[in-house]
Symmetry: C2
Subunit: 140 residues, 2 copies
DNA sequence: TAATACTTGACTATTTTAGTCGGGTATATA
DNA sequence: TATATACCCGACTAAAATAGTCAAGTATTA
């Protein structure tokens, strides 16, 4: 049960961005330097964030990325979804009738994992980007 | 963010066991058949459960494993710990002063992931084996 | 004395993760 | 208008983690 870097970096980078005035393009290079995340990896991540309407890009020199919405309206769940990192606790396909073992019945623990799935998603659903900034005034 | 089979199977197997009268040894072979989990893999898992005092073994023919405690007193968190599958949401070492990026300060998102860590562990802490059986009377 | 069932460490194929690489295109500003 | 900056995009890859398997046991009971 662990979080991957893609999700972690995505949130980290967006949190970094949201400290700057909105409409002020922030370059990936700067984020890369400030947060010590590989620039090339960031590019990959931001492409997805862009496709999912979380940021928009400003090309050319002195360009960068801009949050497409107010940090208050960007839920962590959206960010996760954007970088296609879903929570997966069940062993089976959720929608299918079949169980994780190939049987035609869901296994003994299915309900438990399903509950856990909902529980975790609930956390992401109830947090937005601006929540991150409020905790403390940090400068790193 | 996904759950691995080791944890899933551990809980599944223990849930299977706890449907039988306590002190009645359940063989891994039977669990393997009922739950469609590889016998050899189960052996590996149960070795850890045994070392962590969750089950005890009864050797010899008509032997098997027995829950060491009442299902009510076996928390999911213990099971996870036993198969050393910890929840890891932060990118850094929790106890260290250093951040996930090697810097000497924790990163902007550290508190968030720490909160998530606690949140998830809380789920496991508040569930025990007997909770699983109560949901429905299932027979698989 | 068979058969059953636990014991243990080492080994391995497969999958996932965490990136990198190369070769673009668009735009601002000097 | 040259040039540097910065986004764009698909393909590739090394390394780590996962999900097991294998071999060679030992203990107990019917
Ligand atoms: S987890 Fe869904 S059937 Fe087992
Ligand atoms: S997650 Fe702990 S410092 Fe970044």
């Amino acid at each position: 049960m662990k979080l991957n870097t893609k999700s972690r970096y995505a949130v980290m980078a967006l949190a970094d961005m949201s400290k700057f005035p909105i409409n002020n393009p922030v370059s990936l290079r700067d984020i890369s330097l400030r947060q010590s995340i590989s620039l090339l990896y960031l590019e990959q991540i931001f492409l997805k964030l862009k496709k999912n309407e979380i940021v928009k890009s400003v090309r050319g020199s002195s360009g960068g990325y801009v949050l497409k919405r107010d940090p208050k309206n960007i839920k962590l769940s959206e960010i996760f979804q954007a970088v296609d990192q879903k929570v997966k606790t069940v062993g089976c396909k959720k929608d299918s009738k079949k169980g994780c073992n190939g049987k035609s019945v869901k296994c003994i623990t299915h309900e438990l994992w399903d509950e856990l799935d909902i529980y975790i998603n609930n956390f992401f659903e109830n947090k937005n980007l601006s929540d991150l900034l409020m905790t403390k005034e940090r400068k790193n």
